[in-house]
């Protein structure tokens, strides 16, 4: 036993499965794709139709699946009379469109994709109308935007299809986001997104302070989708889509989604002054503009598109009136419009298909070639024009009756009947023009194709729709009556007004206006028909070029963004660093603004003369370095080394021997490193300003930078000074000091922290070193020196030239002589370095030192050899394999740390014992030493890798001849 809920679910998911299935069909599988789509649509239609009894009596089919309960978002399917009516249109017309498309689309088109999109779109529309949760509604809403985008852009090889699709997507998706926001506001007001709960809270919503924003946001959503002024412009351009798509999207589905939302929210949003004002006015303007523009179109589909806009305006206007009867009329006209507009689009498609053109000026006398199609189009157009005995007439009558109703005497109210009649006359005019221009008159001679009657299966959908127009128009009460009633009741419930669905109500004022419109339209056509053919566009309206405006707006938004981006952003590193420093300084300052700057009570240590002296030196060096860095790089480097030395001395002074040791070693390596780099830097000449001095902008920039630098310096000084004047309160160091020897077996607490308490930091730190080594290695593999740096340095060229010029000398003798003494000394020193580095390694746990200092020391020893003996010479003798050393070091630390896990202790738990060795006595054995050994290996590897990788650039030979030539040419220049 299948439940109603189950049927509803099945109907909803079927199109999506069909879509998925179609997307996997082969490109040429035209028939199977169409068959699949048709069957899916038919099945879903049958399922929905089968649910009619459930909704006919005003009941609601609801099914709920928990999805995101914490946010009130559940999948809630809700089928009432209104949704059923829309579902019927969606699936019914969908089925007909599938049938039509099977014959319309060219055999060369990859139609499975087309049908896949179409089914997905159908499913999304269906999901939208059966949503019982507002967020879910917004979800499906955006899906319809998406799939309509794909459908409109289906012929994407065509530029206009692409841009139209994009325009439609942007407009409708933006509207969708507004709708979502509006819905969220509704949710905030009501506390739920459940449609039933929301509908029950009408009063609360209208009196809420969020009513206005919610209303405006929701209307934005509806208006964009339903192509209401001023968002109507996307619709005519969407005609770039294949005609079946137009027939579907612009009759029964896409554009009706906005109408559906207006109807859905009608009970809770309508009835206020604001609603009437906005919705009514917008509807009226759309109605008139659409009709006016439709008259002047030369393209069949454009004419239909503008007429769609116009009719959507009628429906919106009716809803805007806020009366129950207006709603009834709106719903009725929605259905009627769907039927006649779908059939007209299909007819237009047949004309296009058969003649190869849609230009009304070229078309003529087609009736003799395609009488069936002509007849069908005539009936449909008559329905559109509101000719009696057709469905369009009925809803138009209702509309006019509502328009004549007195409401508040406002301008809108007073003008409405006249404007409506005039606009309806226009719709008569364009309907007439459509038929007369295309089917009557002399047979056209210059058509691209010889027209024939369309095949039966292509005409069939139109026949069905036209039949509906006719039947509804003749016997409305027996056909559309109950369905309309169920739909309207689902919205209005007990407020449902009395209305009569009859063809004849007697000679009423609406009928009079109706006839006036018919007559006026006909007369106007007779008078203007030739002039219309030469019209270049709709007068007045033509200047409102929606698309161009859209594109202009978009382009200017983008242009403005580009200018703005340059204004609020920067790509310059200096500016970025300036901002960074300023912001950081400001952030650090912020807490002091309310609190003020205060220092603590701790007694200040008296100054020692030596310390003061070294800091005078330090300051001199630092400032000198800053001063010299641009033009005297070497000087700046030397000065920086001086500042570094002062830091080291300070560390010694301030009871941090480990720091001093490490910093000294690092200092040395850094100096060598930067010197290695200097070789590849360009020569700098002091900048010559035109008038002998820097321009004002430069001076200003320097002034700002100077101020920033001083501010940052002062800030750091003040912060550190304040901190040093506070007594130490709670600190974990106390524990570390107390437990360093007792539990970790080391007397040098700093080293114990590094290899035990916080060994994980050290572990990470050496990983950084390894990564940097790797990165440097990788980057330098692809090193490409600058042109002027490729050749050997000037000094070497001169010295080589000197050697070459003396017969007794060989090239390189100058160098050999130069390095004679250093080379010997460095050979002598090498074992001393080795011993000292082992010393640092072994004693680190108890006294200053450790794996890092030891590793750097070894690396310095290595680099000294490179300096004294040259790269090739060293590498002939030593096996320098930094990558392997690094890997081994990392693995050693890792396995040392992992060793603990064997004893069920966490990673890096250290192990420490004294072992009694005969003769020697107690020997300390600590896993920390092993860990430090790993660090040692890694540091040698990484440091050596970096230094050597740079050094290697000097001895590499360029790969290509071009580079070789470049070098020899520049050698020759000297």
């Amino acid at each position: 036993m299948v439940t109603r809920e189950g049927i509803l679910w099945l109907a909803l998911v079927l199109p999506f499965f069909g879509s998925l299935g179609a997307s996997f069909l082969p490109v040429k599988a035209r028939n199977s794709a169409a068959m699949l789509a048709g069957l899916i649509a038919l099945a879903a239609l049958a399922l929905i139709v089968s649910l009619y009894p459930a909704v006919a009596d005003g009941a609601v089919v609801k099914s709920r699946v928990e999805w995101l309960p914490s946010l009130g978002l559940n999948l809630l399917l809700r089928l009432d009379g209104m949704s059923w009516l829309f579902a019927l249109m969606i699936l019914g017309i969908g089925l007909l469109v599938v049938l039509y498309a099977r014959y319309y689309m060219s055999p060369n088109d990859p139609v499975p994709r087309f049908f896949s999109f179409l089914l997905a779109f159908m499913g999304s529309m269906l999901g939208l109308v059966v949503s019982g949760n507002l967020v879910q509604l917004a979800f499906f809403w955006e899906l319809t935007s998406l799939f309509s985008f794909l459908l409109i852009g289906y012929w994407h090889h065509n530029e206009s299809a692409r841009s139209s699709a994009r325009m439609a997507l942007i407009v409708t998706a933006a509207g969708g986001l507004c709708l979502l926001l509006g819905i969220l506001l509704i949710g905030k007001i009501v506390g739920s997104y459940d449609l039933d709960i929301v509908l029950a809270a009408a009063e609360g919503i209208k009196t809420s302070r969020y009513y206005v924003p919610a209303l405006i946001l929701i209307l934005l959503g509806a208006f964009t989708k339903s192509a209401q002024f001023p968002f109507h412009f996307w619709l005519p351009h969407a005609m770039a889509a294949p005609t079946p798509v137009s027939a579907y999207l612009h009759s029964a589905t896409m554009v009706k989604a906005g109408i559906f939302v207006l109807i859905r929210f009608w009970p809770v949003l309508a009835g206020t002054e604001l609603w009437y004002l906005i919705v009514g006015t917008v509807g009226l303007i759309t109605f008139v503009i659409g009709a006016w523009a439709a008259v002047f179109q030369q393209d069949l589909k454009s004419l239909l598109a503008y007429s769609t806009i116009s009719h959507l305006g009628i429906i919106t206007l009716l809803l805007g009136l806020g009366t129950p009867l207006g709603l009834v009329a709106a719903v009725f006209h929605t259905v009627n419009h769907a039927t006649f507009k779908a059939s007209l689009f299909m007819a237009a498609g047949i004309i296009d298909h058969e003649t190869g053109t849609r230009d009304l000026r070229r078309l003529s006398g087609l009736f003799r070639y395609m009488p069936y199609t002509g007849t069908l189009a005539m009936v449909a157009a008559a329905a559109m024009a509101g000719v009696p005995l057709l469905n369009g007439f009925l809803s138009k009558e209702m509309f006019l009756a509502e328009a004549l109703e007195f409401r508040d005497g406002s301008l809108l109210d007073t003008l409405l009947p006249f404007v409506a009649t005039a606009a309806l006359a226009l719709s008569v005019l364009y309907s007439l023009r459509f038929i007369h221009q295309a089917f009557f008159g002399a047979p056209a001679t210059d058509l691209p194709k010889q027209p024939h009657e369309a095949p039966f299966w292509m005409r069939l959908p139109i026949e069905v729709l036209v039949l509906i127009c006719l039947v509804v128009g003749v016997v409305p009460a027996y056909t559309i009556g109950p369905v309309l009633d169920a739909a309207v009741r689902a919205v209005l419930h007990e407020n449902t007004p009395y209305y009569s669905l009859a063809t004849w109500h007697g000679f009423t004022r609406p009928l009079l206006l109706s006839l006036l419109a018919l007559a006026g339209g006909t007369v106007a056509y007779l008078l203007l028909r030739t002039k219309l053919n030469s019209a270049g566009g709709a007068p007045v309206i033509r200047y409102f070029k929606g698309r161009r405006m859209f594109e202009t707006v978009l382009a200017s938004v983008i242009g403005a963004s580009r200018r703005l981006e340059e204004m609020v952003g920067t790509r310059r590193l200096q500016s970025q660093l300036r901002i960074l420093v300023a912001i950081a300084a400001f952030a650090a300052l912020l807490p002091f603004i309310p609190a003020g700057y205060a220092i603590g009570s701790e007694r200040i240590t008296p100054v020692q003369p030596g310390f003061a002296a070294i800091w005078v030196v330090g300051a001199l060096c630092a400032i000198g370095s800053a001063w010299q860095a641009k033009y005297h790089r070497l000087a700046a480097l030397i000065l920086m080394a001086g500042a570094g030395l002062v830091c080291c001395l300070s560390f010694v002074w301030l009871s941090a021997p480990d720091l001093a040791l490490t910093q000294l070693l690092v200092e040395t390596v850094t100096t060598v490193l930067l010197l290695l780099g200097l070789r590849w830097m360009p020569k700098r000449e002091p900048q010559q300003w035109r008038r002998g001095r820097a321009p004002r902008s430069v001076l200003f920039r320097r002034g700002t930078d100077l101020a920033l630098a001083i501010a940052a310096g002062a800030g750091m000084a003040l912060l550190s000074f304040a901190m040093m004047t506070f007594p130490i309160g709670h600190t974990i160091s106390r524990y570390l000091v107390e437990h360093a020897y007792a539990e970790a077996g080391g007397r040098n607490v700093v080293n114990v922290i590094l290899v035990d308490f916080r060994a994980f930091d050290t572990f990470g730190e050496i990983t950084v070193l390894a990564i940097v080594g790797l990165t440097v290695y990788a980057l330098l593999r692809r090193f490409r020196p600058a042109r002027e740096s490729v050749r050997t340095p000037e000094q070497q060229r001169i010295q080589n030239a000197f050697d070459d010029s003396r017969s007794e000398r060989d090239r390189g003798d100058t160098l050999t002589d130069y390095l004679l003494v250093p080379r010997v000394v460095m050979e002598w020193l090498f074992p001393a370095f080795v011993a000292f580095s082992l010393y640092l390694l072994i004693r680190g746990h108890d006294l200053p030192g450790g794996g890092f200092a030891a590793g750097i020391t070894m690396a310095i020893a290595l680099v000294l050899q490179y300096m004294a003996a040259g790269t090739r010479s060293v590498e002939e003798r030593l096996r320098v394999k930094p990558l392997s050393w690094m890997g081994a070091g990392l693995l050693l630390t890792l396995f040392t740390g992992l060793g603990a896990t064997l004893f069920d202790s966490p990673f890096l738990t250290t192990w420490f014992r004294y072992a009694d060795v005969p003769l020697i006595g107690k020997v300390p054995l600590a896993s920390a030493l092993l860990f430090d050994l790993g660090v040692f290996l890694l540091v040698i590897g990484a440091t050596a890798l970096v230094l050597i990788a740079i050094a290697h650039q000097s001895i590499r030979t360029p790969l290509r001849r071009r580079d070789m030539e470049l070098i020899s040419r520049s050698e020759g220049e000297v």
Partner: protein, 117 residues
């Protein structure tokens, strides 16, 4: 504040004299470094610090710690040894480099390459 070690007076006098004279020698070198006019002249005074100054201070340190810890403390010798080994290397390389640079620029301070001036 640093707690100055407590030495017997004789040792204190020896240490004080050695320390101060070491410092004076070093300072003399530094003053020379500032005072003299050409690079080659300035090359010499710093060696006061690396020879005399270092030796005197190392001796002071040896005396100081040997007395303080009542056992011979001579590891400071290593400092003197390595300073003597390493600083000349810099001077030698630097002097030659300076010679090269002066010759390229035709400075009158530098002698010609082969001595046939």
């Amino acid at each position: 504040m640093i707690a100055t070690p407590d030495l017997p007076l004789w040792a204190a006098i020896v240490v004080a004299v050695l320390t101060i004279s070491g410092a004076i020698v070093t300072l003399a070198g530094a003053i020379g470094l500032v005072r003299f006019d050409t690079f080659y002249d300035r090359l010499h005074p710093p060696t006061l610090g690396s020879s005399g100054g270092t030796i005197l201070l190392v001796l002071a340190s040896i005396v100081c710690f040997s007395v303080l810890r009542t056992r011979i403390s001579v590891h400071e010798i290593l400092i003197a040894l390595f300073v003597t080994l390493t600083t000349p290397v810099t001077f030698i390389l630097l002097a030659r480099a300076s010679l090269y640079r002066d010759r390229i620029e035709g400075s009158p301070d530098a002698p010609s390459i082969d001595g046939e001036d």
